[in-house]
Subunit: 190 residues, 2 copies
């Protein structure tokens, strides 16, 4: 096998990030294989997209796990929650950058299985944000779901910033963190 399933998925994602409307023929070409071989690995476009979506969700889930979101939610400890929040956002940047097109791809968002999985992961995050509010880490006067959507939107902003070359990759975590937590306004006090 010249190209493993994994390798094909990698090149497909890269190419889809540049052109979300890429055809199977273009994705095959991007992977350096023929249409026939691509179809031997993924029997349909939908299957390929589903595989990409699953991998993205796995990584999203791993970010939640590695940053200890669930434990932090249960702990209620501001210190623990704060650290988990930082770690989660840093991890989400990686995933959003790697799977950028999936953030706003309609076919992806509409797939029943993927929708179910993202709903689950989102609910965990929302519970986490609510705990963060309870613990005094996040403002309590914002709906937790709004906070969740805000993070989503900022990840879209990250994707665009990187795609357009507006900010350096190494600056992104700091920019996202500080903007998300403290806003864009100049602090009166300080």
């Amino acid at each position: 096998m010249a190209m493993s399933r994994e390798q094909i998925m990698s090149t497909a994602i890269q190419h889809l990030n540049e052109n979300p409307l890429a055809s199977m023929a273009q994705l095959a070409e991007a992977a350096g294989i023929s249409r026939a071989t691509l179809h031997r690995q993924f029997s349909s476009r939908e299957e390929l997209m589903l595989a990409l979506g699953r991998r993205a969700h796995e990584q999203w889930e791993q970010v939640q796990e590695r940053s200890g979101v669930v434990d932090a939610t249960a702990s209620g400890d501001p210190e623990v929650i704060g650290k988990a929040l930082d770690a989660m956002l840093a991890g989400l940047i990686e995933v959003a950058d790697a799977y950028g097109f999936g953030l706003t791809d309609y076919a992806m968002l509409v797939n029943p299985e993927l929708k179910r999985r993202s709903d689950e992961l989102e609910e965990r995050e929302i519970a986490f944000y609510a705990a963060a509010q309870q613990a005094g880490v996040l403002r309590a006067d914002l709906p937790a779901r709004w906070i969740s959507n805000t993070v989503y939107g900022l990840l879209v902003a990250v994707r665009e910033s990187l795609r357009r070359g507006d900010v350096a990759r190494r600056d992104v975590p700091r920019l996202l963190l500080t903007t998300y937590l403290h806003g864009a306004a100049r602090r009166e006090e300080s």
Copy 2:
């Protein structure tokens, strides 16, 4: 004429906001007209999309004008800039809500004419943000382009919040403003 060009465009946008992949046949049906009539008004799908994109950009431009962004940029007065910022964000919410799908529609973002126009409008906003930083309204330690992309991302968040019914429409301006300016973290001082 049962349906004016404007009316067709309105129903088309509504329908595209629900299903960005809607076909011309579906858009015609949504407008209550036949495919033939739709094609008499817009000779191709591309022409329809271009018309929608133009209208969205016109409204975006009007928001900039009505909120006095350019004058505020030139003035350098923190007071004036602050008011213009509030007004602009409130206006952008309306546009983003109305033309939601266009925020992330690839075909729309890729059209040369529309890309040119949005680049122009963005540059004005970036200049405005830079002036806001100069005037001490916005933090000076963030790249103006990052701030601009942040606003874009938050508008996507607004669209999603409204589409999913996570927040009440009347709460959106306040939520966006306060999140954007002050962030999601609980303020230490107060």
